[in-house]
């Protein structure tokens, strides 16, 4: 059985492969590494982590309202229990990201949550039902954005 790669080793590997990550990789504790990534570089770093660095498990995708931007954290893990949490931003003015469901088929459901709850635009998703909001939910109202006001739901009549 090979020795488990340490978090510092992982950090070094990431920076060696992607020099722009210098200063952007943080080891929080054992089994937890966080990295800040520019949206334009996200895909290649994500693919590298999954296909070559052993992060074969997608735990969850978290959306965040970060003021002018929407934040996206992709929480992936390797078989040894180390989690790599990749955080990227897209401007609210154009919150477009590309799907990762080609790599993780089950990931589409988390991306649909980002669309319904944050108003993200996810390109490349296979056609499918929305999740989790009902039909008839008012257009342009994203409940997990900080400026969402639930009063709009009562204004135009009931949801479904």
């Amino acid at each position: 059985m090979s020795k488990r790669r340490t978090e510092e080793e992982l950090k070094a590997e990431l920076v060696a492969a992607f020099p722009e990550l210098e200063g952007k990789v943080r080891v929080a504790r054992e089994r937890r590494v966080w990295v800040e990534v520019e949206l334009a570089s996200f895909r290649k770093i994500f693919e590298r982590a999954v296909k070559e660095l052993g992060f074969s498990i997608l735990c969850i995708i978290t959306g965040l309202d970060e003021g002018e931007n929407l934040g996206f954290i992709y929480h992936i893990a390797d078989q040894g229990g180390t989690m790599l949490n990749i955080h990227t931003l897209a401007p609210k003015a154009d919150p477009s990201i590309r799907t990762i469901s080609d790599i993780f088929p089950a990931g589409h459901i988390y991306e649909r949550e980002l669309i319904d709850l944050f108003g993200a635009k996810v390109s490349g998703l296979a056609p499918g039902n929305r999740y989790p909001l009902p039909d008839g939910w008012p257009e342009g109202q994203y409940p997990l954005r900080k400026d969402f006001n639930p009063a709009v739901l009562d204004a135009g009549g009931e949801g479904a």
Partner: protein, 149 residues
């Protein structure tokens, strides 16, 4: 004859049918409703059977807060039931929305959508409380039947 015995006898003759509908609960109350049917608690000794078709039901056992997407369906199920019909709000969420009161997708308790005959609080509601609540409701059913004669 004690009240509980009279109720048991009456229920065995009348055999009220209950249906159970979950409007968005965490399932704790749903499981306690089923537990009420198991031997330790034994709701069925009251002669109550839990069925699936609203048309034939006397009693609607509702668990969960009313979420926006379930509201219309809840109303329709209630409409399908023939009079006299009774609605039990089982658990704190069904009574008032419980811990989910104020959540954007929750309108509140069952009474936001349909009239409630009895509120049985608890988080989750204990099986004994369900039986107690249902027994009280049966008494009302019995009295309402008498009133019609």
């Amino acid at each position: 004859m004690k009240l509980s015995e009279r109720l048991v006898n009456w229920a065995r003759i009348k055999s009220p049918w209950a249906i159970h509908f979950n409007t968005g609960s965490c399932n704790a109350c749903d499981i306690e409703i089923v537990a009420a049917i198991t031997p330790r608690f034994d709701l069925e000794r009251f002669g109550i059977q839990v069925k699936g078709a609203p048309r034939h039901a006397d009693l609607l056992l509702c668990s969960g807060p009313v979420t926006r997407q379930i509201e219309t369906r809840l109303k329709r199920i209630h409409d399908q039931m023939a009079e006299p019909k009774f609605v039990a709000a089982v658990g704190s969420c069904a009574c008032t929305g419980g811990v989910f009161r104020g959540c954007y997708n929750v309108k509140g308790g069952i009474d936001q959508a349909i009239p409630v005959s009895i509120y049985i609080p608890g988080c989750p509601v204990r099986p004994e409380a369900i039986i107690d609540g249902v027994a009280k409701m049966l008494k009302t059913l019995e009295e309402s039947q008498k009133g019609k004669k």
